[in-house]
Amino acid sequence: MLLTCPYCGPRDVSEFTYQGDGNRQRPAPNSQDLQAWNEYVYDRQNPAGDHNEIWQHSGGCRSHIRVIRNTVSHVTSSTVPVRGAVHHRSTERRKPGAKA
């Protein structure tokens, strides 16, 4: 299986480390919502089909990437840097003009 690193191009899967389900939403660090924490840690969608997942190119550029991969055919339809998505979420949370 090949994964296409957005920085390095197509590489063998053995260069990557699997970091699991990318749909999980980590609660805010100060959240005391136990249900949300439990769901984040333990509950998975586990689809047979397209799966949104996080990999790290640990044997290469070490970037974290978000991959949409079909769990039946292993066809990947998208690989993008995770950083973009994380940045996007954090700007949504902040009020305009607030300190970072």
């Binding site: 299986m1 063998d12 899967v13 053995s14 699997y18 699991g20 389900d21 136990l34 249900q35 439990n38 769901e39 840690v41 333990y42 509950d43 998975r44 969608q45 586990n46 689809p47 047979a48 799966h51 997942e53 991969r69 769990t71 039946v72 055919s73 292993h74």
Partner: protein
């Protein structure tokens, strides 16, 4: 349906083996049953067998999307053991071991259970101490365990490399002498025949496509062979658990489906009369009665429903085999295949009522489901018949993750690919 006996063997041998009857019927689905079991693997068939035998519930159907033995019950590497550390696991798997010891007699079907021992190799003093701790825990609970020295290991398996110059020199090992192997197809066929002759309908090529609901309550299943109503719907779908549960509207579970590969070599003369596991990676090997070495290693490491694996693991498994047995370098691999494993978040199974009314769930077997087959069926049948768990599976609930009562044998945390 004839009993198997020396006499029937002789009679059929003399008549050209033309009079053997099918071991189970091929009935059409009835409109309704007391219990429908989804999944005709080892666990589903064993559940049907013990429902009939222990609880007198015989109006039961087992639905299987393929043919019997097409899933993990025919794909595993056949090891049977009960060498666990944590009491809920030790008790459960030891009960399974006791059922295994009498299974051929109980089923009147030779499952070729062979108590040839399972040996875990240790490669460092710390690992050896850890094994001693597990062995002590096992012996406290009445399970057999013996520490072995390097000299004893070398005597048991002469081909193993015990030299100090090995990549990971062997320090000792933990042996469970009563552990061993069984013929996996025979387990499926034996339970199928035993359930069938007690009145259970086994419906092959019957895939579940939906659930019948009355509000929250599950009242039956929709299949490729029509609708089947049932008072109780029990799921034993292993790697397909997520897929089936999504049909019931449950889209999150503490389960990930991963793929595990297995390999068999060409036939050799007797080479290894025990099952051995490597302690510095993930590798295990035994030899079948036909002579092939049956071996495997780690999961591929990412979610998969593919029933086929990738090459990096093939290379890793071969490398680990040669680290232990350098003389196998010239032996050819005959076949490789893979099965989809329902990896739970703590490495331990789930046998429970629910999560919906009218539904019962059996899953989370990781890659150790085969040895559990008898106890899983026994406990799941009890849970279905009595609407409450047996003592042996009371800890294997679905809500234990959210309650913080996980049974994490390996101390690995919620990382299914590492259990």
């Amino acid at each position: 349906m004839a009993e198997y006996s020396a006499l029937s063997l002789l009679r059929n041998a003399l008549s050209g083996n033309k009079d053997w009857k099918p071991a189970w019927r091929k009935p059409d689905p009835k409109a309704s049953y007391d219990v429908v079991i989804v999944g005709g693997g080892g666990h589903g068939l064993a559940t049907a067998y013990y429902l009939a035998k222990e609880h007198g519930i015989t109006n039961v159907a087992v639905v299987e999307k393929g043919y019997l033995g097409s899933g993990n019950v025919g794909r595993n590497t056949t090891a049977v053991r009960s060498n666990y550390l944590l009491p809920p696991n030790t008790r459960f798997y030891e009960h399974s071991m006791k059922l295994w010891e009498n299974l051929s007699h109980d089923l009147n079907y030779n499952v070729m259970f062979s108590q040839r021992g399972v040996l875990n190799l240790a490669h460092t003093p710390a690992q050896f101490d850890d094994y001693a701790r597990r062995g002590n825990s096992m012996r406290h609970q009445g399970v057999d365990a013996e520490l072995m020295s390097v000299a004893e290991i070398k005597r048991l398996m002469p081909a193993i490399d015990v030299s100090a110059s090995a990549r990971f020199p062997i320090f000792g090992g933990l042996m469970q002498p009563r552990a061993g192997t069984a013929r996996h197809d025979a387990v499926a066929w034996g339970y199928a025949r035993g359930a069938d002759r007690r009145g259970v309908d086994i419906l092959e090529n019957c895939e579940v496509t939906g659930f019948l609901r009355d509000g929250d309550r599950v009242t039956g299943i929709v299949t490729t062979r029509g609708e089947i109503r049932a008072r109780k719907v029990a799921l034993a779908a292993a790697g397909s658990t997520g897929r089936v549960m999504q049909l019931a509207g449950i889209d999150r579970l503490p389960i990930e489906s991963h793929v595990l590969q297995a390999f068999v070599s060409e036939s050799l003369k007797p080479f290894l009369d025990t099952v051995v596991t490597f302690g510095m990676g993930h590798f295990y090997m035994g030899q079948s009665d036909k002579g092939g070495l049956i071996y495997g290693g780690d999961l591929d490491g990412y979610n998969s429903y593919a029933q086929r694996g990738n090459l990096p693991i093939v290379e890793e498994v071969m490398a680990e085999m040669l680290a232990l047995f350098p003389s196998l370098a010239s032996v050819r691999m005959l076949r490789s295949w893979a099965g989809v494993c329902d990896m739970s978040m703590d490495g331990s199974p789930i046998i429970t009522t629910g999560p919906l009314p009218g539904m019962y769930l059996n899953c989370g077997w990781c890659y150790g489901g085969f040895k559990a087959t008898p106890a899983s069926g026994f406990c799941f049948a009890h849970t279905i018949a009595r609407d409450e768990p047996h003592d042996l599976n009371a800890a294997f609930t679905l809500d234990r993750f959210h309650r913080g009562a996980v049974i994490d044998e390996k101390g690995q945390g919620a990382t299914p690919r590492l259990h």
